[in-house]
Structure formats: C-alpha cells, structure tokens
Amino acid sequence: MRRTILAALGLALFATPALADWQTTLAAARGQTVYWNAWGGDARTNAFIDWVGQQTEKRYGVKVVDVKLSDTAQAVTRVISEKAAGQNSGGSVDLIWINGPNFLSMKDKGLLYGPFVKDLPNSKFLDLSSTSPNSRDFTVPVDGYESPWRLAKFVFTYDSARVADPPRTMQALLDWAKAHPGRFTHPDVSNFMGATFLKQALIDLAPDPYVLQQPATDATFAKETAPLWKWYDALRPNLWHHGESFPANQSVQNQLLNDGEIDMSMSFDPASAAAGIQQGLLPKSVRVFVPEGGSIGNVSFVAIPYNAAHKAGAEVVANFLLDPTVQARQQNIDVLGSYSVLDPARLDAAEKAAFAALPTAPALPTGAELGSTELEPHPSWMTRLTAAWAKRYTK
C-alpha cells in the first residue's frame, strides 16, 4: 500500500511535471525566432525548413530562420568563438543540423544543451533503445543531446544510359574504373561524402570489420586499412582528373554526372536520384544501386548549443520534426524524399497509412533494393582515414 502511494507520488512528481514542463516550454517558445543552422547546398532541404518554419509559426508562434551553411562545421566554429568571447548565453545559433564528428566535437567540448530528447512528447515514436541508430551517432552515445531528424544511407547513383551493369563490389568498381578511365570519382575527402566513400570501401575491404566499432589504434588502423590503400592506389590514376582533384561535395559530383563528365555519383540519401530527376538536375536515366554486402547508414540529428538564445523554441522545432505527419511529408519524394526516423511499430493505423500512401518514382529504390545497413565505424576511424588520405595523396 505504502509502496503504491510512493509510486503514485513518484509518478506525480516525475510524470506530470514532464507534461507541465512541455506546457512551460511551449509558453516560453511563443514569440521566439529560432536560428536553425543547416547545410544550405540542397534547395529541397532549404524549402522544407522554410515550410517547417511556417508551420511552427502558425501552430506555436515560433519563427524559424534558416541559416544556410556551406559546411556544418561553421556553426561549430561560431559557438566556439562565442565561448571564446565569454558569450555563455544569448548565442547566435539555436539549432544545428548535425551528426558524426561535428557532434562528437561539440559534445566533448561541452558545447551542447541537454539532455533534452526525452522531454520532447514526440520522442514516444522513436526507438531509443541503446542499440538503435537513434541512440548512437557514429558509435558515439547520443545521451539525449541531439534529436533524430532524418535517415541517411550510402548509395551509388549511375546513369543507366551509359552504364548497363553497375559494379556492385569494390573490386568490380576498380575493374570498371580501369576499363573506363576518367569516368568515376568521389567527393573530396575533406567533405563528409568523400570520407564516407572511403569508409564504405574500408568496411568492405577490411580483414576484420568488427574492429572498426572500437576506437582505432595505430596497430589496428595499419592492419585494417592496408588492403584499402592497395585498392585505392590502383583506383586513383583511373579517376576523373587522374585523381588529382576532386569535386567539392556530392552536389558538385551530381552536376558532373548531369554534365556527362562522369558516369557515377554517390549520395547519403537514397531518394536523391529521384529528387534530382524531378528537379531537372539529373538525366532521367539515373538510377540507384547499393554495394552487394549492404551500405553504411546513419541518422541525421538536430542539436541545441549550450548558449542558444532560444532553447524553448528550438525544442519545439525539434519536437515538430518528429511528428508522424511531418515525417511522412518529409519522406514524400515530391517534397524531400528523406526517409523517416520513426519506429513503424509505434505508429497507429492512420499514421502507418500516411506512409503507405506516399508516391513512388522509377529512380526511387525499394526497401529490398537498399539492402542491409552497415554500422558507422567509430569516429576515430574517419578522422584517421581523412588524415592518412591527405598525407598520402595531397602533395
């Protein structure tokens, strides 16, 4: 009896305040303007962020300003220089589209606000168990410091008018590149897409891929990357521009594909080919394929800096992004074509139906075609990979 009362008391103390807290958050957020810092190179994402802002203003009185970055690290740098100047509140960045090394860097340096994810009412639609991709960002525990937004998965795109049968293993890719010199390349490795390509190759070529889940040491790094470098040394002379220069990012590489300078590109968004065709940015014959053994996948998040001026508003936006109708809209190929992070098992029938009713397109891969998802290696592998690559090939 006593225990029940205590439990009830506990519930009263911990459960209701959460809801009450959300009411407080909503009240505090009203009238705020959230400066959302996001990579601005994708017009559809920019349009989607605009739409989100219109909705949150209408529903919660929260305005969103899309601060378009050419590199997410700019927002990190901004928060660091604000901290350098002692500006510990009223900062200029309220919300960042973030993941991987940028997240690790901010979390390590104590630059993030949180944990806040469990405070968001819509987090009930998420699988937040410790092994879920929502809880581990590049193997780093999220600990509630960033809220999931959209799903990313590595895919190759190719022009089916020029490539009949795309190479589905790294070895086949090398053979294909030798047979078609100058027709393949990857984004610069200083860009995350270029680094991801190397990681994908590393996972496929490493003698023991499980080691990649642990932080890299000098010994494991040398051992696991040896086959990768051998493969890459053979590949590089056959790349576009003889592997001496690289497109700055995946958008520039897509442009090269559209210009016919190369036959293949890559993306972290399985819907990007279909989206590109729809926008007139890619030839209608472009299709998607995934390496035989599956490909790297991860979740993109939004995070709030420790000194953000409008934390309540930022939480409202983060929560709104997890609304099933918003996630369904975002997955719509006509809008953004970015896969949902919600757990289908936690949706009711109507919400599931909204996802099932989404339109399809010829260049949009089915779930089966996307194959299995491989885990991101620990971030130390990416840091070491890019450094080692620069050392070997930036002369």
Binding site: N37, T77, S92, S245, N249, G260, Q279, G280, T394
Partner: protein, 568 residues
C-alpha cells in the same frame, strides 16, 4: 578656417583610426593569440609554437604556398602587362567616356559571379564545348581534359585576369589623363622610336608612379583571394587562403590554431609580396635607366602590343560570355551535355515562394546604402578638412586608409569577430556594416580624391568673395559641381559593398545573408540555375548603381550645360 579645418580633419582621423586601424589591430591580436596557441575557449592558455609546427607539417602545405605565390604574382604581372599593352595600342582611338562605359560591366560584376560563369564556360562539358559538339567535335560525352581546377592554377589566373585587367585599364586610362601623352608620343616618334617603344620608354615610367598603389591592391587581392579560388582553383591542395578557410571550418577544432597561424602567415605573404614587388620595381628602374640611356632604335614592340590587345579582347569576350551564360542558366530547367541551349526553359528559378532571394536582395541593398553613405560622408569630410587646412596631404594618414586593402581579410577577420562578440555586437547588421565600411571607404577615397582636388578653386574663391560661409560653399558650390564624380564614387562604393564575402560571412554570424554570401554558398551546391539567379542579381545591383550615377546628373542638372561631362 584653418582651425576649423584641422578640427574637421582631426575628427575624421579619429574616426578612421578608431574605426579602421584599431579594429584591424585588435583582430590581428586575437588571431595572433590563437596562432601562438592561446585559445581560452579550448582550455589552452600557454603560448607555444606548436600551431606553427602543425601548420608546416600539414599535407600539401608547401604546394598551397607555391600555388598562392604563382597565381598571385602571375595574375598581377600578366594583368599589368596586358593592360599596359592594350592601352598603348588603343589609346587615342577610344575616348575615356567610351572606355569607362565599356569597362563598367566588368567592374560592376562581383568576382564570385564572374568566376561561376567562367567555370561553366571553360569546363570540358561547358558552353564552349557544347556549342561545338557534337557537330564539329563529334563528342557525345565531354573530352577528358582538365580546365577548371587544374593543378597549376591556370584557370584561377584566367578568372583573376578577367576582373583585374579591366580594373587596371581604368586606372591607367585615368592616369593617362594627367600626362601629355600625345606630345610625348609625337616627340618620341620624331626621334625615331616606334610607337610601342615610346610607350615603354617614355609614357609608362610616368604612368607607373600614379598607378602603383592600385597595383599593390591588386597584388594583395590576388595573393589572398578566397571566393574565386574556391570556384576556379585546384582543390587538393587548394591555395593557402582557401586552405585557411577550410581549417577554420574544420570539424576538428584543433585545426583552429594552425588555421590562425596560417592566417598570420597569409598576412606576412602579402606584406612580403608587396616588398618583393617594390624591390622588383627598383631593379626594373635601374635596368630601364640603362636601357633608355643606351638609346637603341629600330626595335619594334608593335607585335607585342597587338598580341596584348588581342588577349585583352579575348578576356573581355570570355567575361561577357560568362555573364550571358549565367543569364541563360537562370531561365533553364533541364540542360545536359551536349545541348547548346537548355532542353527546357522555366521561370521557376525566378519565382521564389519563400522570398529568399528577395530577402537577400533587400539586405544587400540596405547594407550597401549604409556603407556607401557612411564612407561618402567620411570621405567628403576628410577632403574638405584637407582643403580648409590648405593643401598638405597627410601621407601617413592616407596610408592608413588603404591598410584594409593591403592586409588580407582572412588575417584579422576571425580575431575581429571575437572582438565584436566580446563587445556584444556579434552577428548584428551594425557589425556587418562596420566591417564592410573598412573595405568600402578606401575605394571611395581613391575614386573621389582626384576629382575633388581637381575642382577649380576660383569657383570657391568667387563664392567666398560673395559672402558664402564655408558650409554654404560646400553645400551650394562644391557638392553640386562635383555631383557626377560623387555619384560615380557612390556607385563604386556600392559595388564594393555588394561584392564583400568574408566580412559578411564572419561578422554576420551567418544570420545576415547577402546576394554574395548566398551565391558562394549555393555554388557549393549544384544548382547552376539558382546560382545563375543570384549571380545575375548580384551583377545587376552595382550595374543599376552605375546607371543611376550616369543618369541622375543628366536629369537633375539638365539645365547646367557646363556640368554635364565636365569631370570624368
């Protein structure tokens, strides 16, 4: 009057010192602290040389350095040679008015827009190849050639030439107005020298001192340019300035300190570069004295002059095509290789439901008007103070004004941002306007001081003898007479403001988006159609300003015949 003039000049000097020199010094100080390992935000408080060792050990550092030097000196020297050759060949054949009209589109178009257009023009899959394919070349896919982003930086040099040659042409043409070219040419020809040789031996030695400062500005700019380098330069490794920006924005925050060291180094390179150029001048002067004194005749420089003219004409054609192709892209929907023109057209790029280009346009105009207004007011006060004191230019003070043009922006902008943040001004419109004024004011001074000093003093004296007060003389005599050069100056200032990239990026904390920051950001994406829209707007704004500068005086002063076309 003298006292009053001194006070006026003192106030302006104070403003210039407090508003320009101090912030730059403060910016350098903050950058230098980081360069020597002092960054309290990262918990580093003890000075060390570690960032420098890291910098020198970074892969590709030596190549970046070499690229910067080759493209910077190469572009400046080539631009000077080409502009001189062109002037020698066409001088006397084109009037200064016509020349200014011809050059203004090139001057008005921001570097980034020109570079974006040019990169599409000369790429293996670009417009030139598309126009010739497949009917002439039989290429169904683009040839395997490297044009944009070649590892020697040739495309980058070309892109810089397209912008810097017209600038130097304008500077040389206006300097020629101060020299009796015709008479010297005739005398030289009479002594048996060819036209080209007279130019080299007689005219250029007189022109050079008048254009030395603009040449230093060009050199400083080409050694530290960022936006053009991102678009046209090599990427692995890039030029030093781009590498610095990359390190500043690296996810690995430990790169910040080597980045600050590199930013300082960049400043050192520019200063050393100017010193080196100056030493080169001394050598050329010695050799030149000996060569001129020898009096050799019969040597012909004509073929060289005509080649230079042909190259300049080629550059101008490339620049014009680059702008045309941007205009086409902004109305295109689907345009793939090898079509000469888009397969489908659309107005969708211009229809902007979210109003983002409209907002950027409004911000650009607002900042441009504010910076131009402030700079113009400062310049008029400075020049008026100078005249009231009576003559004597303060040479060292003039040097201060040009400081922002001669030290690379990246060297102090990071530190300046820290200073502004500490003052609670970070990310505000005011911070951007201030930072841009640093770079707009020098150009305004360069443009306005000659016509101002050339004003016929007798007019002012006549007004004074009729009882006009100093203020009355300024407002009712000088300003109306100088309306045309003042408006031209305003147009120049406005154009400089529109083109500012790094100051807006650093000081605006990304919150203030102008056409230029949006265009450069978008060019990191792939949508040439949207980039086309921004680049066209970016070029159209300064162009409208130049147009207004030409039209307004004719309308407002249509009944003042002696003022129309009197000063230029």
């Amino acid at each position: 009057m003298k006292v009053e003039g001194r006070a006026l000049r003192g106030i302006v000097l104070l403003l210039v010192f407090g508003g320009i020199v101090l912030p730059i010094l403060a910016g350098f100080w903050q950058t230098a602290r980081a360069a020597f390992g002092v960054m309290p935000a990262l918990g580093d408080r003890t000075a060390s040389l570690a960032p420098w060792y890291t910098l020198f050990a970074l892969p590709g550092f030596a190549t970046s350095l070499r690229l910067t030097l080759v493209t910077g000196f190469g572009a400046t020297a080539l631009a000077l040679i080409l502009a001189t050759g062109f002037c020698a060949a066409v001088h006397g054949r084109i009037g200064p008015q016509a020349a200014a009209r011809m050059l203004s589109p090139y001057l008005a178009t921001p570097h980034a827009a020109m570079a974006i257009g040019l990169s599409f023009l000369i790429a293996p899959s670009g417009w030139v190849v598309r126009l010739l394919s497949p009917w002439l070349t039989s290429w169904r896919v683009p040839p395997e050639a490297i044009t944009v982003g070649d590892r020697w930086g040739l495309a980058l040099i070309l892109g810089l030439l397209v912008k810097e040659v017209p600038f130097l042409l304008l500077v040389i043409l206006s300097a020629l107005g101060q020299i009796p070219v015709r008479r010297h040419l005739a005398q030289g020809r009479a002594l048996g020298y060819g036209r080209g040789i007279v130019w080299i031996k007689v005219i250029m030695p007189q022109v050079y001192p008048l254009i030395r400062l603009p040449i230093y500005v060009v050199l400083a700019f080409t050694l530290s340019v960022v936006d053009v380098s991102i678009i046209l330069g090599p990427s692995n490794p890039p030029t030093l300035s781009v590498a610095v920006l990359r390190w500043f924005s690296s996810p690995d925050v430990n790169r910040m300190m080597p980045a600050a060291a590199a930013a300082l180094l960049q400043a050192g390179i520019v200063l050393a570069g100017i010193a080196l150029w100056w030493a080169g001048e001394r050598t050329v002067i010695r050799l030149g004295h000996w060569w001129i004194g020898r009096g050799g005749r019969g040597l012909s420089a004509e073929p060289g002059l005509w080649m230079a003219s042909a190259l300049v004409a080629g550059l101008m054609a490339l620049g014009a095509l680059a702008l045309v192709v941007l205009l086409i892209w902004s109305w295109a929907w689907r345009w793939s290789f090898p079509e000469a023109l888009p397969q489908s057209w659309s107005a969708r790029n211009w229809i902007d439901p979210s109003g983002s280009w409209y907002r950027a346009l409004a911000a650009t105009v607002e900042i441009g008007l504010a910076t131009t207004g402030i700079s113009l007011a400062l310049a008029v006060a400075w020049l008026e103070g100078e005249q009231r004191v009576g003559g004597g230019r303060l040479r060292w003070a003039t040097g201060l004004i040009y400081l922002p043009l001669l030290v690379p922006q990246i060297g102090f902008l990071y530190g300046l941002n820290v200073v502004f943040l500490e003052a609670g001004l970070g990310g505000s419109m005011a911070a951007v306007i201030w930072a841009q004024t640093l770079f707009v004011f020098p150009y305004v001074m360069i443009t306005l001081s000659d016509p101002w000093r050339a004003l016929d003093r007798r007019l002012v004296a006549a007004a004074a003898s009729l009882g006009a007060t100093p203020l009355g003389r300024l407002v009712r005599v000088k300003l109306p007479i100088l309306m045309r050069p003042i408006l031209t100056t305003a147009a120049v200032g406005f154009a400089v403001s529109v083109a500012q990239y790094l100051p807006t990026l650093f000081m605006g904390a990304g919150r203030i988006a102008t056409l230029t920051t949006e265009a450069v950001t978008l060019s990191s994406g792939s949508d040439r159609r949207i980039v086309g829209v921004y680049a066209i707007l970016q070029s159209a704004l300064p162009f409208a300003a130049y147009g207004a500068a030409i039209l307004l005086p004719s309308i407002l002063q249509h009944n003042r015949r002696a003022l129309t076309g009197g000063f230029s």
